[in-house]
């Protein structure tokens, strides 16, 4: 197995545990915003897509990269936007009266 695979595996396992611990604490109240937020964070694959598209090696890889840039960036923009819209609606009884 290549050495970079091993180091990535370490990162993956540790991140998985961090994810598990952090997400376990998210209130079930917010499970829908949780899903749209993780979706927006996952859209970070846009950085890989930018490199593939920007290298412009062959028409095929550039086209695939460009589709990937558009698809993931729409998730990033839309995901953060809708998460924020949802979270703005959650008001406690006290703040509502003020």
């Amino acid at each position: 197995m290549p050495p970079d695979f091993i180091s990535n595996l370490y990162v993956f396992i540790l991140a998985g545990f961090v994810g598990f611990e952090v997400i376990k604490r998210v209130s079930p109240l917010l499970h829908t915003p949780l899903m749209s937020l993780t979706n927006a964070l996952d859209a970070i694959v846009v950085v890989a897509a930018i490199i593939i598209a920007g290298r412009h090696e062959t028409p095929l890889t550039t086209a695939l990269g460009a589709i990937a840039v558009a698809a993931s960036f729409s998730n990033m923009v839309g995901g953060f936007l809708i998460t924020d819209r949802m979270l703005r609606m959650f008001k406690s009884g006290r703040s509502k009266q003020s």
Partner: protein, 462 residues
Amino acid sequence: MTGFALQQYLDFAYIVAVVLFILSLRFLSSPASARWGVLAGEIGAAMAVVATLFNPEVAHYKWVLIPLIIGAGVGIPLGLVQMTAVPQRTALSHAFGALSAAMIGIAEYYVGTAPVTRFEMGEIALEVIIGSLTFTGSLIAAGKLQEILPQRPIVYRGQNIVSLSVLGGALGLAVALVVNPAHAILFPIMVIVALFFGVLLVTPIGGADMPTVISLLNSYAGFSAALLGFVLDSKVLVVAGALDGSSGFILSVIMCKAMNRSFTNVMFGAFGQVQASKGGVKEERVVRSATPEDAASILAIANKVVIVPGYGMAVAQAQHKVRELYDVLTKKGVDVRFAIHPVAGRMPGHMNVLLAEADIPYDKLIEMDEINGDFPQTDVALIIGANDVTNPAARTDQSSPIFGMPILDVDKAHTVMVIKRSMNPGFAGIDNPLYYLDQTLMLFGDAKQFVSGIVRELSGGH
């Protein structure tokens, strides 16, 4: 020399982004701090994107900036959809995420700067298979949620064998590619077979199982991004993918537990067929029905009221009327709370978002485990558009298909009122003994109209 220093800056930006991503999810632990989480995530993502644009490998900005603009043009409207449409928007975004991961994996295969090793071939093949099946599977889920496709489970004989052989075919092609990466022609065939499997995977699944399916697809989309991180040796992708994947996985487990079903049962079980045999014995049982006036007079003298909303409330768009009911009762000094079953709605947490949109304070939205102990002290349990999650047969009747599913113990309240269109059973076709109890009143009618009737009565009689 400068290139080396630049690379370090880029790596540093990615590390900061990763820290912000973890903090972002951490802030989501409470509604009070949650919006900071969005901000942290946005800063992290913006840093990573801007840093990448400075990467010297990005030489042709035209092929980057135009897609970025298109992406923003698609993403902004998708971020502004109505709250009832959030489940299909989410499924669509899983599709986009998986599409992106699959496209990058495919491009990586065809870049061909150096011949791929068997190990790399295995990584790419697995990544592309998961990305492709998640793409088409999520599109089907979105289509069902948008009601472009039928919500009913679509089943035929030997379905599981067909689906599993298609998956086996995709994996077999992947193995053949690993054995000999030179067989380049097999690669596009493998992609097509994986895309087809995604369709077969989700088509048989019914609308009521969507909370689980959407969570599973979330998990797949995350893990395909993490696998892409392995392929490209990009730690930021590994971390973001692992966070997204584990989040989807945890939600899937919660959804399965809330329905007392296993993953395999959701994926291969196609709910709703088991009941056909149960139709035989039909006894005439009496239900008591009541008018909005009756309901209003009972609610007016109650001390504690628990409202149980279900997907039917969302379908009838009754949540704003329910808020008016909440207001008028609260003004009369009645303690009103909402009982939220984990699978209420079409995705995890969906009901909370709909009620929050209607301006109901979130501290009145109570989870099942927390509120179940309070039903014996509750004067009125008012059920709006929920059915199976209130069915006491799940507790008592071992022959019931939903036996063992955790339910809201509404039958323990002093009075139970159920707003329902007719006596038709719910999605699973299961009869609900709750409706025949002595303390149960059936309020037949459209949820929105019936609730406004009660509200009119309560505010008028003052």
